[in-house]
């Protein structure tokens, strides 16, 4: 009923938390159910090509959601990922169009992401403002900067060579998917195997205790926001590679998808809790849903309805699975 009894009910899984967690298994079951439903309803849904499509279409959200997961674990939230990506995209793109060498232009894009994250982090960690409202403020600010920088116009004509970097494929998988898989692996290692990961969990779990234990609170939080900014920048590079254009309005509402993926994957917005595997599964759930609904040619109002209901259903399935776990 209440959280108290919930805790009591949820306890068994605690033992397994450090292995493949029951929580992740819950998310996986959610995904399997959704896959099964679409598999039945949509002919050709399980075609290799379509499955690859789903992965590719989930990759950008997954990339953002990984950064979001780290921020959420640290007890924060990053609403500014979309505009960060947009700013990074238009600056990289305009450098590329101006003939700057690819590595430099990409590095500049990443630097923008890091700086955006740094600013968020500093306002949260040093100035002590609330993460939600800080990133709500920078959401507008970064978007405005991107618009002002470009005058509102998309930056077109990205060099083919640059686009090839992110558009290729390896072992039959789109490079974007592979890049994000590598990022996920790194995020998993960070969270499970490094002091920084431990610090994130501690800061989000009990900031005061972490402080007394010598955890560098501010640096940990700032690093989380910077990673989130960096991954937003990476997502931006992947996207402009794919679309061949960088728009200042790119990344609209990305934050909601990223948060949804992290939350479906088990991250708690109260901090101290979250899973890389879960987040990836969450992103794939959302991607699968969009893909399946499009293939079913569901009318747009009903797609919106389905989106809402599936988010709720994913959380419910997960809740029920955990209850049994």
């Amino acid at each position: 009923m209440t959280d108290i009894t919930e805790h009591t009910a949820a306890r068994p899984r605690a033992e397994f938390l450090h292995r493949f967690s029951v929580r992740d298994a819950g998310t996986l079951i959610g995904l399997v159910v959704i896959l099964a439903v679409f598999g039945v309803l949509v002919p050709g849904f399980f075609a290799e090509r379509n499955l690859i499509n789903i992965l590719q279409q989930s990759s950008i959200n997954a990339c953002l959601a990984l950064g979001m997961t780290l921020v959420i674990i640290s007890g924060g939230i990053d609403l500014s990922v979309g505009p960060t990506a947009a700013l990074s995209a238009v600056i990289s793109a305009s450098m590329l169009v101006a003939g700057v060498p690819f590595p430099l232009a990409i590095a500049a894009g990443f630097a923008i992401g890091l700086v955006c994250g740094l600013l968020n982090g500093v306002l949260v960690a040093y100035v002590g403002l609330q993460p939600f409202i800080v990133t709500l403020g920078t959401l507008s600010t970064y978007r405005a900067l991107a618009l002002i920088y470009t005058g509102g116009n998309p930056v077109l004509g990205l060099p083919a060579g640059f686009r090839a970097i992110f558009n290729g494929s390896l072992f039959g998988l789109p490079l974007a998917v592979i890049i994000v898989a590598v990022v996920a692996l790194i995020a998993w290692i960070i969270l499970k195997k490094t002091p920084f990961g431990e610090y994130l969990l501690a800061v989000g779990g009990n900031e005061e205790a972490a402080y007394i234990a010598g955890v560098p609170i501010a640096r940990t939080k700032i690093a989380a926001y910077m990673i989130s900014g960096l991954l937003a920048a990476l997502a931006a590079q992947i996207l402009i590679g794919r679309l061949g254009a960088a728009e200042p309005i790119l990344g609209n509402l990305w934050e909601l998808d990223a948060i949804a993926a992290a939350a479906i994957g088990g991250a708690s917005l109260m901090g101290g809790k979250g899973s890389v595997v879960g987040t990836i599964l969450g992103a794939v759930i959302l991607g699968t849903m969009r893909n399946g609904l499009t293939l079913m040619n569901v009318q747009s109002f009903y797609q919106l309805l389905a989106t809402g209901l599936i988010i709720l259903a994913a959380m419910l399935i997960d809740r029920v699975t955990r209850g049994r776990g």
């Binding site: 075609a47 379509n50 590719q56 509102g152 558009n167 679309l243 790119l250 499009t294 040619n297 747009s300």
Partner: protein
């Protein structure tokens, strides 16, 4: 007035084509001293609305009327736009040009402006039912024109798909409906998908990828705006189907022209925002001068493809001339 029937800009009988203004109402009249115009549009994040503003400005410059042009911070910011419009009313502009986010979000302005004795011109897109003056094109016609292209150039018919704008937005609904109805009535075509693209390039790219994967024999896409169409073009290229699938957008932004010239985007329906802006301001100022214009002033649009792109993309006057010719020939 209260007994004014709700406006349907597409079907209103009391209308005049933009090309007829001078012929019917004479040369541009003299304005009261100190006339200034205020304009508010949806958003500046879309080139279409920036171009409309350029039109206001260029005509304003021509007749020495200062124009203030504002826009909401984002598409869909309904109350923000209302705030802006209310600010314009209180600041004493002689005429207001509004491009509302929705059919009703600027409704209060109509009453406030009336009380302040300021004419309001509804310019394009969403239609305020009580609007006494409307300048703009026929939204439905955007889709109709693209459908006609398919009927003419793909006589064998085939599968087509639509990528829609934001669910429930007037322009998106009308354009989609125009295309869908016209092409379905032609008989040989099947609309296999009509899915939301939310005015967003990435969403449209993903949607197009999925549709192409399911219907590799698709012959064409119609997108409710050019940004989405350009996203679809990339998806079509990525699927290696650029020779088989025709892609159409709407609006005629400069990137769309560039893409058409490069042979990627098949076409767009240009509604000539700069010219629309000029005509809108001209009509508005004629109202200030006391002329009684018909309720709707229709502005032009044209289906742009590689063949005719140059004709419609020259300097302002050249385009105006070409469009006047079109109007004369009834195109």
């Amino acid at each position: 007035s209260a007994d004014l029937a709700p406006l349907n800009s597409d079907t209103e009988k009391d209308r005049i084509d933009w090309s007829q203004l001078e012929a019917k109402f004479g040369a541009f009249p003299k304005l009261p001293d100190g006339t200034k115009a205020g304009a508010v549009s949806k958003t500046l994040t879309n080139e279409y609305w920036r171009s409309l503003g350029e039109g206001y400005k260029s005509f304003g410059d021509r007749v020495a009327v200062p124009v203030v042009y504002q826009a909401a911070q984002s598409e869909g910011d309904q109350l923000g736009q209302l705030t802006i419009a209310e600010g314009l009313v209180t600041q004493g502009y002689n005429v207001l040009l509004v491009s509302p986010q929705t059919d009703s979000n600027l409704q209060p302005i109509m009453e406030q402006a009336k009380a302040a004795n300021v004419p309001v011109v509804n310019v394009n897109d969403a239609v305020i039912p009580q609007a006494e003056h409307y300048v703009g094109n026929v939204q439905r016609d955007n889709g109709v024109r693209v459908a006609k292209w398919f009927i003419k150039n793909r006589p064998d018919g085939g599968k087509v798909a639509i990528v829609e704008g934001q669910a429930g937005v007037y322009a998106a609904v009308q354009r989609t409906d125009g295309f869908k109805t016209t092409i379905t009535e032609a008989g040989k075509f099947e609309v296999v998908a009509s899915v939301p693209g939310n005015w967003d390039r990435q969403t449209s790219y993903d949607a197009a990828t999925n549709i192409l994967q399911q219907h590799p024999d698709l012959i064409g896409f119609y997108a409710n705006n050019d940004g989405m169409a350009l996203g679809i073009v990339e998806a079509v290229k990525a699927a290696g189907l650029q020779d088989k699938v025709a892609v159409f957008g709407t609006d005629g932004i400069s990137d769309a022209y560039a893409s058409i010239r490069a042979g990627e985007l098949t076409g767009t329906v240009d509604s000539f925002p700069v010219l629309t802006g000029e005509v809108a301001l001209e009509s508005a100022l004629r109202l200030v001068a006391g002329q009684k214009l018909p309720r709707v002033v229709a502005t032009p649009q044209a289906l742009i493809t590689k063949d005719n792109a140059d004709r419609y993309s020259g300097a302002g006057d050249a385009v105006r001339k070409a469009l006047l010719e079109d109007a004369a020939t009834g195109n």
